[in-house]
């Protein structure tokens, strides 16, 4: 991977910091007190999701990180690994459970996920923004019951639990926004 000088450091650039892949979320030029110039960056560690700050001199270099995102189809899981297929090369990759931890509750076989690869290994799996799933368990709604704000918990076929309106019943398919976990509509 290439190295970058401070003139090339920009928001969105993927770099290696202490061996971890990170993405720059903020970069600014500072020149305090008429002294030497520095570049101040904020970066998100793609493994831990933590945001940190770093200040570098204008002569410093940073290493680029081999991080790519590609849409991949979820095939199946065998209990310990989750298998995805590259939509172009048809190559298959196995992801550890902890990589899929957030996405697992939303995805079904054949769903297309956005997989972030670091040095060719899956780092993060993002489910589609919207998924359509069947309700496998929910209480029958009682008309006029607004004590719970007009919603009730419903368990979906993937195991996720979301709040749904009272009129939505077991066996129905609903559309959910995976970024917020919110019910959108009946599917």
């Amino acid at each position: 991977m290439p190295s970058y000088n401070m003139n090339q450091v920009k928001v969105g650039l993927r770099i290696l910091i202490d061996g971890d892949p990170c993405i720059i979320v903020d970069a600014d030029f500072v020149k305090p007190g008429k002294g030497q110039a520095f570049t101040r960056i904020k970066y998100r560690n793609l493994k831990t999701d933590r945001v940190n700050e770093k200040t570098m001199r204008s002569s410093d270099m940073v290493d680029g990180a081999d991080v790519v995102e590609k849409p991949m189809q979820y095939l199946y899981n065998d209990g310990s690994h989750w298998y995805f297929m590259d939509q172009e090369s048809f190559e298959q990759l196995a992801a550890d459970g902890h990589v899929v931890v957030d996405a697992a509750q939303w995805i079904k076989e054949e769903d297309i996920c956005l997989v972030t690869l670091f040095d060719g290994n899956p780092l993060v799996v993002q489910p589609p923004n919207f998924v359509e799933l069947e309700i496998v368990e929910t209480d029958p709604g009682v008309r006029g019951d607004t004590s719970s704000g007009g919603t009730k918990p419903a368990t979906l076929e993937t195991g996720a639990v979301v709040r749904v309106p009272l009129f939505v019943q077991q066996g129905e398919r609903i559309k959910v926004d995976t970024r917020t976990g919110a019910y959108v509509s009946r599917a």
Binding site: D28, F29, K34, Q36, F38, T55, R57, S58
Partner: protein, 321 residues
Amino acid sequence: MTDEDADWRPTAKLEALRVRAETLASIRRFFAERGVLEVETPALSAATVTDLHLHSVACRLEADDRRTRYLQTSPEFAMKRLLAAGSGPIYQICKAFRDGERGRRHNPEFTMLEWYRPGWDHHRLIDEIDELLQAVLGVAAGERLSYADAFLRHAGIDPHAASDGELRSRVAALGVSDVSELDRDDLLNLLLSHSVEHRLGVGRPTFLFDYPASQAALARVRPGHPPVAERFEVFIDGIELANGFHELTDPEEQRRRFAADLAERRRRGLPEVAVDERLLAALASGLPDCAGVALGVDRLVMLKIGTRDIADVIAFPIDRA
């Protein structure tokens, strides 16, 4: 790319350009009422600053004498020549150029307001800047805070008495790479930018004065314990807006500082630049005791419209120029 982002378009809204025009007009009114003369000096000059941290844009007049000339990083040297020639109080609004300075608060070509007051010291000039900011920005009267008090108050450290080791460990904790290679002034500058600056100028301007002698630049140094540079900076909402000096008038001391800069430039492999002999000659003939300040007009307009991005107040920043 949507048409709104098409790069022939200005990055500043027309409303911001109107505020900019009003700001320039009110600055000119302010000085006209006080009898300060507006002057113009060359943007392109045979000599330039020796400062290690200022990078001049060099160019050659190919159809003329083919000699290297420099776009000025500030009009300071030429304005001092006018002062030495007996101009009295003067101000200038001009473009200044600094290679390598680009960011949310920097554009390599920017607009500077610079003015000089013969017979005044920096404290009297601070009072006038305070009046200008009240008139142009409508802010409250500013506070005066010494460099040492600002560090004690906001960073909990004495900038004159702390050891290099203490400063280094404080700066390392800020996430700065390679602190071992930073000198004392670098360490102080980083503490200023990371721990102090954003707490300055909140609700009213802050005038920070009495800098460490090692950061004197073109200010005179006042002997004492410790000796301090009669230099100040002005902050509003954490943005550094202006830098001024009780000006060094001693030609021998000025020559020594130029020579020290040039030696350090050679050591670091930085471009050699021509020393301004005409400035030194003017100092030798007699620069009146004076105070001067340079103020970033773009940043003034940023504060006026409430943006943190210089591109919002410049029609065409460098990447659209």
